[in-house]
Amino acid sequence: MEVIARRPETLTKTPFTYCPGCLHGVAHRLIAEAIEENGLINQMAGVAPVGCSVFAYKFFNFDMAEAAHGRAPAVATGMKRARPDMHVFTYQGDGDLAAIGTAEIVHAANRGEKLSVFFVNNAIYGMTGGQMAPTTLPDMKTTTSPYGRNVEDIGYPIRMCELLSTLVAPYYVERVSLLSPAEIIKAKKAVGKAIQYNRENRGFTFIEFVSTCPTNWGIDPVKSRDWARDNMLPFFKVGCFRDKGEENVQGVEK
């Protein structure tokens, strides 16, 4: 009998610390698989954020650095510049990347740093207990927007793929979702492409995952995917925003 699906060797044996059904785990697995499939386990280094995935440095089975909140793209820049023979990625949540770390991500993208950035958008601050994120949807209730996000007061959610694809340098920018096996299969392709481009040192690659936070949304894991489909996908449209490796890339799926 042949094993056709198993834990990739690019993950350590440590169980994830995420809540049951949290899709951070799916994103981790896709990244780990792509690194394994690209044969990069011995040249790879990752940077973990501050957020629920703060312990990502324990889960990936190669060298990992833990960055201060929002600073992962700067840390990864230093790492890649110091060791150009290695391949570097960051893994960041929406608070980490789109609030406190906005300057770092925009400028790493603008410099076209030869990194992959994996951005998990769950529309909330998971780790600190469900506060409003820069990606929290209009009228969405969180512990710091108890009456719903008032866009007149605090503005609209930030669409990072759209924002970053206004820059000239980024090589590949795509938003994917993790809300069903079919969507995960699409996401796997995108992650694989980002890591392949990374291996070839082509430039800055950015994958946004539309994800969930069953715990802080207060919705069970299966239904939270439906909630994300109904509420997040209309605002955060999946699709490829930039792919310098392919001709005629269309914008988002309509």
Binding site: E2, I4, L11, G21, D220, P221
Partner: protein, 67 residues
Amino acid sequence: MPKMTVDPYYCKGCGLCIAACPKKIIRFSENINEKGYHYAECYKQEECIACKMCYMTCPDVAIKVEK
């Protein structure tokens, strides 16, 4: 014959694999693992078609599929 196995050490009983399986052959075990979760198990191995949907959807990478 295809075979799907869940490693109870990793499973957190989230049920996403149960929702994903086209053959509906995964359920929660009556037993619990060390962390206290009713882990998932395949109770009709002979019907498994090795489609890997369970593996694909499992956030804790607890599943192995063989063919």
